[in-house]
Amino acid sequence: MSHLHISDGILPWWLWIGGMVCTGLLTLLALLKLRKQRRLLSQVAIMAALGLAAMNIPLGLLVHINLSALAGILLGPLNGFLATFIMLVFNALIGHGGLTVLGVNALLVGSEALVAGALFRGLGADKGLLPRVAVSVLIALVVSSLLVVAVTGAAGLGLEALAHQHEEHGGEGHETVFLKTLLPLYAPLLAIWVAVELGVSLLVTAYINKVRGDVFAGR
């Protein structure tokens, strides 16, 4: 897991509405594709449920896994994204991540499924399962983390603009230090999250491949 559960009221309106439109389009595309492959419905749902269950079991202070990248590898990029979106809908309903920022949160976490799924298929079956999973998951987590930094940067601009408006109305002056302060706070958490998600994804893959090799056959 390399994401922040962004809450309502943090992002500027153009960002969360844009996120909602992009996520809506991707979800619609995935649903239309899924309608023609109904047997996959149960697998998408099971993967979403497993991610949700994994999120319900914390591994330590605010660290949990979500298996999004693995969902992309097992189900394909679009179906993996759909599983992630479903998982985040339930999270938003219980206050874990905002409802209005569901689109942006889905893009941040779902990018892990999109990138890992596409890379895993693009690397070709001749490379060996574990190296393919390692490369796909690592790149997916890095991409997702960079997106998080970009989104928080945009959020910072919006919030700083709000702070400046406050100043104009008699508030105290302050420096524009948002990202400078946030990154040192976020970077250690990010490093732990990426390491845990990558390690668990690899170990889970190795285990599944040992006991049920057919799950990865033909992928």
């Binding site: 922040l4 559960h5 809450s7 309502d8 009221g9 943090i10 309106w13 979800t27 619609l28 649903l31 899924l34 309608r35 109904r38 047997r39 419905l41 149960s42 749902a45 099971i46 979403a48 449920a49 497993l50 949700l52 269950a53 319900n56 079991i57 605010l62 298996l67 759909l82 479903i86 998982m87 809908v89 339930f90 999270n91 938003a92 309903l93 219980i94 206050g95 874990h96 905002g98 409802l99 209005t100 959020a155 910072g156 919030l159 702070a163 406050h166 508030g171 420096e175 948002f178 946030l182 706070l185 976020y186 390690g199 668990v200 170990l203 889970v204 285990y207 599944i208 006991v211 049920r212």
Partner: protein, 230 residues
């Protein structure tokens, strides 16, 4: 976060919010979110927090669950608030995050999930509704299995510090649960096909309004007046 506890409350808790229609509650939450996102008044946010806690109190919702729910948005919003180094906007960010999370969660805790999922899936193709039901149903089966196996592993390994072998054991539990889930997916699909999944399974959507909805209407008007005055 404990989805199972909230599901139990949604199905078994008796309170006046349970008597309001799901539609009215969803509209109420949408109204509250709109007011929260458009306000810049700390006094209004404080008033909203008191109001939402009062709503929880009048519905006898457990404080422990609410406090646990508030921690996650509080933590993530505080990362932004601290980074901003402006306490005025920081308080605004924290207030919006906590009050909106509690409002949405309260709607979830007081509405039968099937009804809520039915409403949420309205703008999407029918397959989305089926996916939501299937996920929700599977979640409880998997959570129980995952928790039991992790507990068994912990009991067998005793009090052990964090080590690579412990992480490996935990990952194997996830792997085992995934393999089981993969097998279960096929069986569940066949079972639900028999019950109409993918063949025009009718999702029961409750659009009826109820007399208790008037309290929510009064509440949202009062909130709107407070928003305007602030």
């Amino acid at each position: 976060m404990d989805l199972a506890t909230m599901d139990y409350l949604a199905a078994n808790h008796h309170c006046w919010l349970q008597r309001c229609s799901p539609l009215a509650k969803v509209l109420f939450a949408a109204g509250v979110l709109t007011f929260l996102l458009t306000t810049r008044s700390q006094a209004f946010l404080l008033g909203m927090l008191v109001f939402i806690l009062g709503l929880a109190l009048s519905n006898r919702l457990p404080w422990r669950v609410l406090l646990t729910l508030a921690i996650i948005p509080l933590f993530f919003a505080s990362v932004f608030a601290i980074s901003l180094r402006d306490w005025n906007v920081g308080v605004l960010v924290l207030g919006r995050a906590v009050v909106s999370a509690l409002t949405v969660a309260m709607v979830f805790m007081t509405t039968v999930p099937v009804r809520l999922l039915g409403l949420i899936s309205v703008p999407m193709p029918a397959v989305f509704g089926e996916l939501m039901y299937f996920t929700y149903r599977s979640f409880f089966l998997l959570l129980e299995s995952l928790k039991n196996t992790l507990r068994a592993v912990r009991l067998r390994r005793g009090r052990e510090r964090i080590s690579l072998s412990r992480v490996r054991a935990m990952a194997q539990v996830y792997g085992m649960t995934l393999v089981r889930a993969w097998d279960m997916a096929g069986r569940q699909y066949d079972l639900l096909r028999l019950r109409g999944l993918g063949q025009g399974l009718r999702i029961n959507r409750d659009w009826r309004l109820r007399p208790w909805d008037l309290t929510l209407l009064a509440a949202i008007i009062a909130i709107g007046v407070g928003w305007y005055c602030a």
